[in-house]
Subunit: 374 residues, 4 copies
């Protein structure tokens, strides 16, 4: 049905002042697989219209509500094929529910919902309505993240023993101001988690994604550092993976000087891997015999599905938008009836929500601390 024509995307959220909406648009369209044609960019009709103009879409398709978009698009011969949900967290669930029930596939921003129960309900709706559903854990779209996963799966570093995943940011080091900061610090819109929900889940997903291992136990220490803030803005978690591997997850939004410092280090019994989001085309591989190798695009030895994610030759940096575009490329493949086994989905969403809820609940009642009695 979708043939080789461009798939049609309708955006929910992503209106004026949004950060992630325009990112979704660029990412979706980058490979010409997809085209933004409609949107319910804001609950304010005027703002939605303005956004539509900015995106240069047909004014008739800049809708004032999700319901309106879904209803009208369903009746068009050139209807959207899917919706992208790029709203604050609390709107993810109702939007996803409505879209799935209306028969549309969904690309949803993370965290998938604001509660694990909602996430499980989304899972049920996906099953019932049989539509593709993907979750934008962006960082899993970096070619070198996939290459790292591939190396792990090939046994290059042996059995995994230890994982350190970090996600320091500094942009919330001061009492928040600005739209992006405000909703992320507001439980009514963000859910029970602050830092853990906004970036902690990225780090968590990355750790599970690259290792191919599930985290089975956590020990969480969430804190609210900036006075007056309602949600956590600094997280320290200790981890145990299903195979017994040890781990730590450190995320923060109050780390002045840090921009978007997601990184992962994975130590096995035969080698190790290191990747850092701010220089995303570099993947370090440390071998058992002590050799340190820097892997980069253009090198030999990447499997086809990784190599095909690199659009430019080595030395021509691809970054965040291209990684995001790789998720949309996977998603388009799904929509066209193919498979995309590495594209994050609702099961990753549920895991993230359980992590958030467990960490928040657990940190409040945390035991295990002991005084240094000197």
């Amino acid at each position: 049905m979708t043939g080789q024509r461009r798939l049609r995307m309708g955006m929910i959220g992503g209106g004026p002042g949004a950060f992630i909406g325009p990112v979704h648009r660029i990412a979706a369209e980058l490979d010409r697989e997809i085209e933004l044609v409609a949107g319910a960019f804001s609950a304010d009709a005027e703002r939605s219209k303005a956004a539509g103009e900015r995106y240069r879409i047909d004014p008739a398709r800049a809708y004032a509500s999700v319901e309106d978009m879904l209803a009208r698009e369903a009746n068009r011969p050139d209807s959207i094929d899917f919706v992208t949900i790029a709203t604050p967290n609390h709107q993810h669930f109702p939007a996803a529910k409505a879209a799935l029930e209306a028969g549309f596939a969904v690309m949803c921003d993370k965290p998938v919902t604001t509660t694990a129960a909602q996430a499980r309900e989304v899972e049920r709706l996906i099953r019932v309505h049989g539509r593709p559903f993907a979750l934008s854990y962006t960082y899993s779209g970096y070619p070198m993240v996939r290459a790292a996963r591939d190396r792990v799966m090939q046994g290059a570093i042996g059995a995994i023993r230890k994982v350190v995943v970090e996600y320091p940011q500094g942009w919330l080091a001061k009492p928040e101001s600005g739209k992006q900061a405000e909703w992320r610090s507001d439980p009514a819109r963000s859910g029970v988690g602050g830092c853990i929900a906004d970036i902690g889940v990225h780090a968590f997903h990355l750790a599970e994604f690259v290792t191919g291992l599930k985290v089975s136990k956590i020990l969480a220490d969430l804190g609210t550092v900036v006075p007056g803030r309602q949600l956590d803005d600094d997280c320290q978690l200790l981890l145990r993976f299903e195979n017994g591997a040890r781990g730590a997850l450190l995320a923060s939004q109050i780390a002045i000087g840090e921009r978007n410092g997601l990184s992962i280090r994975i130590y096995g019994d035969k080698g190790a891997l290191r990747w850092r989001q701010e220089t995303p085309w570099q993947l370090w591989l440390f071998n058992e015999d002590g050799r340190s190798e820097l892997l980069q695009p253009g090198d030999l030895g990447f499997p086809d599905d990784v190599a095909s994610m690199m659009r430019t030759p080595g030395g021509h940096p691809e970054g965040y938008l291209e990684a995001f575009a790789n998720l949309y490329r996977d998603f388009a493949r799904l929509l066209r009836g193919g498979s995309a086994p590495l594209l994050p989905g609702i099961e990753d969403g549920i895991r993230g929500m359980v992590l958030i809820e467990t960490a928040v609940a657990h940190s409040r009642a945390m035991s295990g601390w002991v005084d240094l009695a000197i």
Copy 2:
């Protein structure tokens, strides 16, 4: 006329196996200012058609020749607004000439032509036909390159004394194979310059762009390192700028291990700047008092026209495609009647061609070497 609708682009070249064609397409469309709608992707009708399918454009607009595209598009109500020339070098001139004569604006890949005389003829045609013309010196589209230029203009490093610009690559370290390598090593398609024409001109433009100074004299040492190659694959130039500043330009295609290592260091009497394409969001500023500062997107202090070139917050890497897209954003502004003073144009193209011809002619007859008599 073009109003706020997306501008329509027709591509010349960029067919199957091309590197730079798809890059132009992504870059042009990234900000939704422009849309690829037509192309003469290959002189082979079948191949052009196949490319049109890959790009997902209307099959009727995948033309078998430049002439055909220009003639037919001129008669469409939704005609293309401009052409992008993404062919091997020797086709730049006839394509640009035809497009300009047919009344279309042109975005041309570098080097602008294969001779300085052709470049001057293009300049004449631009004047005669009054259409916008831009040249894709991609690296001038990096926000931090513009930021560097801004700092120089603001006097942050004082009077410029010394410039070192380098462009090492390693991909032609072996006898060439593959489409990309072959035409670049063939005088009939590349022109008189090899390395100097393919990447030397990028380095040259970058040096003049950031410093705001013209190179007035050169001393060139071009060499052909790989046996059997017809054109230069390694260039060493000494430079004098119009203000007397000293400089060196080193470019190579035989530097194994180097990917796309364009970099520039500019030393003034009050400070210095350093930028490197492979980590393009980092700009080092060295101050007179010894302070070393690392400037990155998200920092304060960038002028609006630089800050607006950054699509993502600090720490979310933007790279080569986004830099290229910034040139297209400038170009769209031109086409809509605005100004884009930093967008490279024909005068930059002429300078590049004179550089190539002078370096090649001069290197052949180079004097100045002396033996170390030990």
Copy 3:
């Protein structure tokens, strides 16, 4: 008494195959303040003699036992001024006790003893015998570590909120072999702590040293990763500082690919600092307004006591041995009757021992973990 002559050092331990003995010798002598003249390098008389030859000292002063050295040296007119204890951990206490009781000053390797009780007894002996005592927390001798401390004390980063200190190594990723590995993995010689005692205490001291804050509470997760090993080889600690600041301490000896990756990041409410031992002359300062500065030797703005620790101009790397030498320079100042307030002493030793014992005891009985119930 010691006037301006070189101070005389007697070494305990540091015989054939030793790592840290030769390091102490080089560090002590680097500034010509101190001279190695005697040693009880091994409990094996032949081996001690061989070590004496290798160190090129007077053969008569290569003793077969600590007791012998202390007794004989006490009767020489050119007696040693102090002993350096460079043995495995379990010999620190008896050696320190004997030396102090014999009236000699002591430079002791870390950890100071194998139990906190012993460390407290050393403290008592120091008080009773009134001799200088120093502990070789080497990394506090790096000029940039002192510069970092100075910046913190000057308020450059405001009130400290978060500290991440890491010390990954990979050299014990396999079942141990070799003298250095063996004793460190043997409770009889190393004490109750493995990784925590060998490198964890360095990280702990560094965190307290640079911040000027004491850790008041910990939550420890120590593990033994390599099968068959008796002591911990991987440590993850969460920290609370006396002012409420949050922290994490990660140390490992099984992190393949890591060499000696001690690093610290300190985030305040007005700025942040970052230092990494493997490029020790670089200190990053992140300012409240977003400016990122790289501080290096040769820059202006270091206080005299920091600047005087740099022996070479900027760009001439000084490393581990020079940092160690800075501790000896401080120690020589103490011995000559001056003050060295930043030189680690017995109180730092006690803190380290309490950390080790608390972490080991606590980790065994750790609560606080929770399953991810998905």
Copy 4:
């Protein structure tokens, strides 16, 4: 005769305010092979005496003149074994001549003399008097520089095609002040070369040392950038090696922000190497197949003579002083009758002087420049 006792060193120059004298002292003594026992630290008797006190040597051996030191030491049973010449350049020749004629071995700072003729005379004196003579091209003492040379000799990068060696510094960006700057800018003390003689020769030696190839031809562009300065402070040289390889040598003292940025890149037909003095334990090896490896101390695969130059395990940085100490270790081996084939000697000194004289003479009369006629 010298047996296993410490060798005795007498220093010429290196008095108050000196930079390189204390460096020679530390380097010489680092391995306890050598001991500073005497010196003619200054032509001013009081200053020489003061220096002797600072170095803590026997006051009777702090001489007021070179002649005095050589005469008196020759009559002592514990006479010095060699002299180190650490004066400004113009005193190298008379000091070396006097020492050799008095039968002492010599470690001389670079450049060896102020003219090539003097250097040749030193060569004659060495032959006549049969004493060891070494030249402190410090950077050849870095283990990774020796490792790089070893890899080249083993054929790891194939036939060398291209060399880029750079030595940017910024400390003379302003009109000079201070003792170190003054004599280096004074032709009467420095000789005909400024930058080329002070640091250019280091870069030149490094290039020849690592490649094992001699430079056969140069094309020099020396400039004096700071107004009023008498000697060159910026050098750009193009090189041809004896095997036809191409090269560039860039050195500068006016490059603000640069500290001591000596670096070398060597491209062969099978691989490449990269080393940078400011992180001297890192050696990059790029392989023909595209693999990028980072070699560091502690890795396997270094030949014994390289591995033995590393005093600490991987990750414990050794720097400039240790590299210098490696030259003295070689020198001690020579003095004890062994061999030290890689220790720089008079032939390296002569080459450096010919380079300086050729570059200065040639640059003045340089032809080969051509205008960019645009």
